[in-house]
Symmetry: D2
Subunit: 365 residues, 4 copies
C-alpha cells in the first residue's frame, strides 16, 4: 500500500537506499520446484551494473546478489525468496552540499514535503539504484517463464536524444554499451562524448518485447495486461511516456488499417502490440518508453533551498549522462514481472478453461 | 485481483455487461459526511452519454444513476456506496451475427481464449459502456476533492485523426460535441461526416489536467502517482499511449531544459507534468493519451470464425466513429479517482508530517 | 481496505444498509463455465430468512435475489456477478427513538465515533441483515466446490444458553428451527419461549464443518487456512470466540494425545480440525464458534445519550432472542467462501505440483 | 497473497527459514519521523529468545537484529524498514532422520502436499522461529503507538496444562520464565520438570491486552478489529482457539448481563473486550488464546513415511515442552501490529471526523 511491492501473486517487495548498508527484495509467490541459484540472477545484474563503460556513471558497485531464503537444495520451495545486495561504494560526502537545496527534475522537493525529512545521500530511496533488486527479481521470473512457457524478453535502444537508431538485429544489442540493435555505434559514442563535455544530458527511447506469450493473460477491466505494463514502465525512474503497439501513431490511423486482421495462420499485423481488450493475443508484446534526460548535471541550475530562498545548484557526484542507456535490462525485468504475475492470476481463475479453438499465434496457457 | 476493482482506499468495484440488466459500481472508502445525491453524479454521466450528437453512437441510454446505499439523509456515511444504472436500449439482435467470428481490433478472440465462453452482445464486459460507472464514481471523487482541497479536473480534445486542435480556451470545451478547446469546430464536423460516409473510423489524442493538486501525493517506488495515472489511462478502452508532462518530447530534450527550475514564486516550467519521483509537486497534473480508431466499422474485414476458418466480418450495430470523442469526461473521472485514492493513502502514513517549508506552488495536504 | 470486501481471488464486495433500498454484493473472480441461476442461491437465503418461526425476528423479508451481471445463457462468464436483494419490510419508525441513545452491546457508540454520523435505522450497516448477501455469495462458492471438488459444508447448533445439544445426526438439522442435530427439540422450544417472555436473550454455540477438503489449502505464515477461518467467523455479528479442532480443550491435552497419528489409511483422530501448519490435511474442517446473547432486548438498560447524559434504553422493534439460531447457514457460507478463495490461491502458485505420495485422507487438489 | 505479508498499511513481509542463513522482515508504511534504532527492538526479541530457562528450547540464538534500511540519522524516513536476523545455531543434522517421515501434529505432511517438496531442517518455514521478525516489527509498532497514542500492550500466562494461574499483578510477569502474573511459580516449575522427564508436552492459555486504545479502530463489516485480531492470533503457531472479551463464556450469558452498560464515566463492564460491531470502544482490548501442546516430543508416535508406509517417529532436537511459554511476547507483538494497521486505516478515511461527543473511556484518535 505504501508503494514498495510490485505485483500481487508474484509479489516483489523492495527495500533499501542508495547509500544505506544494503538494498534488496523479497519475492513472495514464486512457484516451488524451480532450480535457482545466484548464478541465474547475476548476469542480468551485471548487464545493468554501473561503471561498465565511459557512457554511464563511474560508481563502482559489484552488485553481488545473495539468496537469503526460499531455496533449499537448489530448488525454490514456494516460500519467500529474499535477495540481498550490499552497497559497497557509497561516497556520501558527494551529497552533503545538496542536502539543503532541491535539484530541478529530482525528487528532493517532493520527498521533503511528503515525509517531512529525507535521506539526501545519492537520492536515498528515489535513486535508480533501487532498480537493481527488480532486475534480480525479474531474472527469477524470466527463468520460470522460459522453463514453463518458453517465453523470452528482449529490449533495445530506439533513440538517444535526436539520434534515431534503426533496427538491424537483436544480435548487436549485447555488443555495445547502448543496447543498440546496430553494428556501428560510433555516431552514438561521439554524441555521448560531446554531451558529457558540455555538462549536459539527453533523453532516450527504449523498446521492450516478449515472445511466446500465452493467450489470455490480463484482467479485462482494470488490471489489463497493457495497463499493468504502463504502470510498471511509467514507474521506472525518469520515464515520461509509454506506448503499446502502434502507440501514439494510432491517433492518425484509420480503423481499416489499425485493427489487425486474423487469418488461420495468425494475425496479419501487430498494431495491437499483443493486447486486445487488455488481454494477451499470443502475439509478441511490443512496448516503447520515453526516458527524460538525467536531472543530475554539472551545469548550474536555478533552484531554491529548504528555506525557500533562490539559489543555484550544481550536481557533482557520478551520474549517467543518459539514464536511458542502463534502462534496457530494467525494462525487460519489469515486463517479465508483469507477465509472471498475470500468468499466476490467470490460472487461479481459469485453470480449468478449455477453449473452443487452439490459439492461432501462440501456445495456450 | 480479477481486475474489476479500481483503487485501494477509495476502491471502486465495477460490474455489468453492455446488454445485461444493469451496470454499476460499489465505492468503498468514501469519507463520511460528504453531501451527496444523484444530482451530483448525473451531469458527468450526461456529458459521456451516447446519442447526443451525430458524431457518436446513436444508442439511446438514459444512463440514470440510482444510489442504493452509503448515503443517509443526504450525507455519505463512510459505508459502501452502490451506484446502479439500468440498461434500457439493448438491441441484442444486432450482435447475433458476430457471435461466431472475431472482429479485428476487438476483445472477442482474447475473451474466448481466456474464459472459454463469452457474452457477444455489445461486446459484453469489454464494452466501453462499462466506463459509465467509472464516470459516476469519478463524480463522487471530484466533489470530495473540490470541497476538501479545491481541486478541479478538466479534459479536452487535442487531435482527431490528422487534425491537430490548437488550445484556445477551456471555455469552448462544453460548447461543441468534440470537447474541443476551440470556437470553430466546422472542420472537425466535416472530417467526421466524411469518415462516417466512408464507413471508417479514426483515432484521437486527449489532454487531461488537474489543478490545485496537494504536494506529496504518490508512493515513491511503485505506486507512483504518474504510474497509477498511466495504469488508469492505458486501462481505458482503446488507449494505446500515455504521456505525463513533456512525454515523448522529453526524448529530444536536454537536461538543462527538461528539469523545471524552482523559484521562490513557484516552478518556472512544467515539463514534469506535476510529478517528480512519482510524487506530486503541487503543479498541475498534465496527462496526454492516444486513442486508437474504433474497431467496430461497417467496412468488411478479414478474420476467422470460432472454427478457425477464414471469413469476413462487417460490424453493424451503432458505434462511435471516433471513440476518442466521448473519452474526455471518462479520462477526467479516472484522473480524479487516482488522485482521490492517493490523497487517502498519503494521509494514512503521513497525516502528522509538518514539512520544513510551505509548498511553493500549491496548498499542502 | 475499508472492510467491505471478503476474500482476495474470490472477492465478495458487500453493500447496503438494513433499511436502505437494497442490499447485495459483487463477486469478483468466480471461474467461468459454472451453471448458475437464482434457483441455486435462493434455498440458502431461505434457510437464513427472518420470520420463519416464532423463535426468530418477525420481520418479513422475502430476500429475493436477482443476478444483475456475470451470467450469460445460464453460465458464469468469469466477470463480476452482482447479486441484488431489495429491502421490502423497513419499519424505520421503530428506530426513531434510539437515534439519540447508545444501546449497550451495540455498534451505535462506535459507529458515531468512527464516522461522526450514523444511520440508526435497524442498525444501518451494522445490522446482521448484511449477512444475507454473504449467504448468497456462499451459495455460489458451495456449488462450484461441490462440482469441482465434491465438497460439502454443514453446520449445526451445539448449545443454546445453558442447554448443551448432543450430536445425534445431521439428518435432524433441517427439521427444526434451531438447526439442532437432535430429533426432539421440545426442551429448546420451552427454553426460548421462557426467555422471550422474560424480555431477555441468550448466547449460542455453533459447529461448522467441511468435507472432501483438498489437501494443501492455506498459506503457511499469515493467511493460514485456520487464521482466515477465524477471521471470517469472528467477523460474523455477535461472535466472541472461535475454535479449530480441539480448540480450548487443547490447553489441557498432552502432546502424546493431541498430535493426530498418521496411518496408511488416514489420520487416526482429528484434534487438528483439518489444519496443520495453517494448511489443510484433507480431513474434515471442524470449527466451533461462540455467539453472544442478542443486545436488542426489551428489558431497560442503563446507557448514555449523544449528549453524554445518563439515561435508559429499551429496544423495541423485532429482534431475534438468540441471534445464534439463524447463524448456522451464515457460518456455513463463510466457511465455503474462505475455502473457495484458498482453492484459487493455491492453484495460482502450485498448479504444477506433483506430490510424492497420494493424500491419505482426501483427493488432492 | 502467498501469505507472507501481515497487515495492509503497516505491512510486514516476513522471510526466512529456521536453518537458512537468515530470517527477517520488511516493514512498509511506517510513518516517518519516529526515532528508531536496534536498541528499541532488541529487548522484545530478548524476551522471546530461546535458551533463557530450562523450561524452553536450549537452542542458542542471539537473535541480534540489524536495521538495513528505512532509517536515516536515527529517524524513520517513511520508506521500507528491513530488519535482518542472522541464524547462528543451526544443527541441521538433528533433522536428517525425519526428512522422510511426517511428525504427527506438524506441518510436514501438509507442506509436502502443497509444494511437492519441503525444507525439513527445523521445520523450515513452518518453524516458530519465524515469529522473531514479527516480534521485531511489533516493537516498532509498539513504540509508535506509545508515542502517538500512549498505548501499551501486555500479555501473561493464564493456564499451563491443567494448572490455572490466578491473576495477581502485571508486576510479576517479567520476574519468572512463564510470564505468569503470580509471585510464586514453584508449582509451575515442578509441573514442567515432570513433563519434560515424561518426554511429553502440554498446552497453555495466554491473555493479551492493549490499553489506551483510540475509539473507532476497525472496519465495520469484514476487517473488524476483533476479526483481524482473531486472524493474527489463530495464525500464530500452535494456536487452536481465540476469544475476545467474554469469549465462550458469552454462550451462557443473558443479554441483560452481557451488554456492557454505558455511563457518563465510562463503560460499566467489559464483556465486549473493547470491541463493538468490530470497532474499538476505547476500553482495553482483551484477548485470550489456546495453544496446543508441542508436537515435537521424544515419545515415539505412530505415523507414515513419504512412501505411505506405517512407521514410528521420535523427535529429538531441542524443543519447547510448552510452546505457550514463549508465546506471550509474540502475541503482544501481533496485537500491536493489528492495532497499528487499523490506526493508519482509520485515519485514511476518517481523519476529518469530528464526533458529536468526546469518548467516555479513552482519548479519540
Amino acid at each position: 500500500m505504501s508503494g514498495n511491492t510490485f505485483g500481487t501473486l508474484f509479489a516483489v517487495t523492495n527495500f533499501g537506499e542508495s547509500h544505506g548498508p544494503a538494498i534488496g527484495c523479497v519475492i513472495d509467490g514464486c512457484p516451488p520446484g524451480l532450480e535457482l541459484s545466484e548464478a541465474d540472477i547475476q548476469p542480468d545484474l551485471d548487464r545493468r551494473r554501473p561503471g561498465t563503460s565511459r557512457h554511464v556513471t563511474q560508481r563502482q558497485e559489484e552488485d553481488k546478489v545473495e539468496i537469503l531464503s526460499g531455496v533449499y537444495e537448489g530448488q525454490t520451495t514456494g516460500t519467500p525468496i529474499c535477495l540481498l545486495i550490499r552497497n559497497t561504494d557509497q561516497r556520501s560526502k558527494d551529497y552533503s552540499e545538496i542536502a539543503q537545496t532541491f535539484r530541478p527534475g529530482h525528487a528532493d522537493y517532493t520527498y521533503l514535503h511528503k515525509y517531512g525529512l529525507r535521506d539526501p545521500r545519492g537520492g536515498g530511496r528515489s535513486s535508480a539504484r533501487l532498480t537493481a533488486p527488480m532486475v534480480a527479481a525479474g531474472a527469477v521470473a524470466k527463468k520460470w517463464l522460459a522453463r514453463r512457457h518458453g517465453m523470452a524478453f528482449r529490449g533495445c535502444m530506439q533513440q538517444v536524444g535526436e539520434i534515431a537508431i534503426p533496427f538491424e538485429s537483436w544480435d548487436h544489442v549485447p555488443n555495445n554499451p547502448f543496447f543498440a540493435p546496430v553494428a556501428d555505434v560510433s555516431q552514438l559514442e561521439a554524441y555521448m562524448d560531446q554531451l558529457r563535455k558540455a555538462g549536459d544530458s539527453c533523453g532516450a527511447r527504449i523498446r521492450v518485447t516478449a515472445t511466446n506469450v500465452p493467450v489470455g493473460l490480463g484482467e479485462p477491466l482494470f488490471d489489463k495486461l497493457d495497463a499493468d505494463i504502463a504502470w510498471a514502465m511509467m514507474g521506472l525512474n525518469a520515464v515520461k511516456g509509454v506506448e503499446i503497439g502502434a502507440g501514439f501513431q494510432s491517433v492518425v490511423q484509420r480503423g481499416t488499417t489499425h485493427g489487425d486482421s486474423l487469418t488461420p495462420q495468425g494475425f496479419a499485423t501487430n498494431n495491437a502490440g499483443g493486447v486486445l481488450g487488455g488481454i494477451s493475443t499470443g502475439q509478441d508484446l511490443e512496448v516503447s518508453i520515453a526516458i527524460k534526460p538525467t536531472s543530475s548535471i554539472i551545469s548550474p541550475r536555478d533552484t531554491i533551498n529548504t528555506k525557500g530562498e533562490a539559489t543555484q545548484v550544481v550536481t557533482k557526484g557520478r551520474h549517467d549522462p543518459c539514464v536511458g542507456i542502463r534502462a534496457t535490462p530494467i525494462a525487460e525485468a519489469l515486463l517479465a514481472l508483469v507477465v509472471m504475475d498475470h500468468v499466476l492470476r490467470h490460472r487461479a481463475q481459469n485453470a480449468d478453461v478449455q477453449p473452443a479453438l487452439p490459439p492461432i499465434a501462440a501456445s495456450f496457457l
